[in-house]
Symmetry: C2
Subunit: 294 residues, 2 copies
C-alpha cells in the first residue's frame, strides 16, 4: 500500500491498460505488472481482472480510497513545506468563481500582500490548495446558515467562513414567477433548470430540496458566471445564484445561504490574517476554525 503503488494502480485502472499506465508513469510495462502484483500480494486479494483490464469489487474499493489518500498525502507534504518555508511574503490565492464576491474581491485588491489570484472549479479548490498551489483557498457553496461547507477532507487546514449571502432564483422577466417575493426550492423541482456547475450543480439542488426533479433544459460547462446569468435571463432554464451576482427572486425555503469559506495552512500567519480581513463585517461572526472531533 505504498503511495507509488497506489498511484500506479489508479493509473492502470484509469487507462485500462498496464502498458499505457507504464508509459504515462515512465516505467516499463514489466515494472507496472510487478507493482500491481506486489499490491495484490500485500492485500492478498485480486484487484484487477486482466484482459480487459477492469477492477474487481475489491479493486473498486481500493480505487475509491486511493484518490483521497493520495490527495491527503500531497496535502500533508505541502503543509509541511509551507511550514518550513516560513511566512510567505506574498500570497497566492486560489478561489472558485463565485467565491470572489464583490466585497472579497475588494478585500483582495486592497491587500498588497496578495500576489496572484487564480480561479478553478469549486471541486478543485480544496484539492489545489492541499497540493500546495496556494497559500489561501476560497471556496463557495450552499449550506444552512452558519453551517460549514462540506468539502473533501484534506487534513486540517484552518477554515473560517468569510461571507454568507442570500440566494436568488434567476428567471426571465416574463416568467410567471418573476414577480414573486420569494420562492421555495421544492416548488421549482418541476421547472426546467440550467445545468451550470459554476452556479449550483443540479444534484446539489435535489439534495437541498430533498426531492428529485430539476430537469435540465440546457447545459453550460464554462466557468463564466455572467454567461450563466444571461442564459437564465434568456429563459434557457432557472439558475440559483447568490444575490450579489444577479437579480432574481429570493429563495425562502429551505433556509440555505451561499457561503464562502477560507482555507489556509495553520502555519501561514499572513494567510490567516488575510482570511480574517476578508471576513465581512455584516455577517455576524460565523463559526470559527474547524477540526475533526466527535
Amino acid at each position: 500500500m505504498e503511495p507509488h503503488l497506489l498511484r500506479t494502480f489508479v493509473t492502470v485502472v484509469h487507462r485500462r491498460s498496464f502498458s499505457a499506465a507504464a508509459e504515462e508513469l515512465g516505467y516499463t510495462q514489466s515494472a507496472v505488472s510487478q507493482q500491481i502484483a506486489v499490491l495484490e500480494a500485500d492485500l492478498g486479494v485480486a484487484l484487477l481482472r486482466r484482459r480487459p483490464v477492469r477492477p474487481t469489487p475489491a479493486g473498486e474499493r481500493l480505487l475509491e480510497h486511493a484518490g483521497p489518500l493520495l490527495l491527503r498525502h500531497r496535502a500533508a507534504r505541502a503543509d509541511v513545506l509551507r511550514a518550513a518555508a516560513g511566512p510567505a511574503e506574498r500570497l497566492t490565492v486560489i478561489a472558485s468563481p463565485l467565491a470572489c464576491t464583490p466585497a472579497i474581491a475588494r478585500g483582495l485588491t486592497a491587500n498588497r500582500s496578495v500576489a496572484t489570484l487564480r480561479t478553478v472549479g469549486r471541486e478543485r479548490v480544496a484539492e489545489r490548495f492541499a497540493s500546495g498551489a496556494a497559500d489561501l483557498g476560497l471556496v463557495d457553496g450552499i449550506a444552512a446558515p452558519s453551517d460549514p461547507l462540506r468539502l473533501p477532507d484534506v487534513g486540517t487546514p484552518a477554515r473560517i467562513g468569510v461571507a454568507e449571502e442570500e440566494l436568488v432564483v434567476v428567471l426571465p422577466d416574463r416568467h410567471p414567477l418573476a414577480r414573486r417575493r420569494g420562492l421555495a426550492l421544492a416548488d421549482l423541482a418541476d421547472a426546467l433548470w440550467l445545468r451550470a456547475d459554476v452556479a449550483v450543480p443540479v444534484e446539489r439542488l435535489r439534495e437541498i430540496a430533498g426531492v428529485g426533479g430539476f430537469r435540465v433544459a440546457f447545459g453550460y460547462d464554462g466557468e463564466d458566471v455572467h454567461t450563466v446569468v444571461n442564459l437564465a435571463a434568456a429563459g434557457h432554464g432557472l439558475a440559483l445564484l447568490p444575490a450579489s451576482v444577479a437579480a432574481g427572486v429570493p429563495l425562502t425555503a429551505p433556509r440555505v445561504v451561499h457561503r464562502v469559506e477560507a482555507l489556509y495552512g495553520p502555519s501561514s500567519d499572513r494567510a490567516a490574517a488575510l482570511a480574517a480581513q476578508l471576513r465581512q463585517p455584516p455577517s455576524s461572526t460565523p463559526p470559527g476554525t474547524s477540526a475533526a472531533g466527535s
Copy 2:
C-alpha cells in the same frame, strides 16, 4: 513519505527518543535514525531537533497529518479486505457505550446475525471500525437535530443515523433546578460539572453552549454510564445524558439531540441491512448516506 516512515516518525516523537522508538517498532536504533534522515531528505526539511528529541514546527505539521493519514491507510486496507471477504456470515459490531440505547440493544439481540459486540470510547469507534475490527460501527454524539455527527474522516464508509433522542441534565434530587421543566445549557455554564467522557465531554459542552465555564467538580475516567448517573445523582456534578439513560431535566436550548449513527462498509450488505434494521421507527427518516461533496 512512505507509511512506514511516517509511523516511525510518529513513534519517535511520541517516545521522544530514537532508541525507544526503535525498540517499540522492532528496529535497531540505527534504522530509525536512517529512516528519519530519509524522511527529512525527502522533504528537504528538518523535522526533529535532537537532544532532546522534539519536533520542529515543520515536524509538528507532519505529526498532525500523520495520524489521520495512517488511519485512512488502515481504513482503506480494511475496506478492501472486507470487500474481498464477501458478505460476512456473522457480524462484529463496535459501539461507543451510549450508542447502545435500549432499542438498539434490542435490535442487536433480536438479530441472530450479530456475533459479537464490543464497546470502546467514543473517539475510538471510527478508528477501530476503520481498522477493520468490526463490520458495523455505532457511534453516539451530540448534534443539531438530523445533523450528521462530526467524526474523524475515515474514507467513505456508508453512514446513517439510527436514533435521535432528547438530552437531559442529570442533577441530584435536592438540586434547586431539579424541579424545572427545562434547562438552557448556557445557564449552566457556571455550575459544577462531572468530567466524564463517556457522557458528554466538557469541551463539547462549551462548544455547543458557545461559552466558556463548565468547571469540573469531579472526574470519572471509566466507561460505565451507570456510575456516571450515580455520581451525578449524588451531587458530584452535573452530567448531560440522553433521556433513556437517566432521569433528569430536559435540555431545551440549544436545540441539540443525542444522536447515534451507524458506520458500515459499502460492500457489506449484511451490515447495511442490520444498520437499516436498527434504525428506529419513531425518528423520522434522518438524512441518508454521507459522502464528501462540495
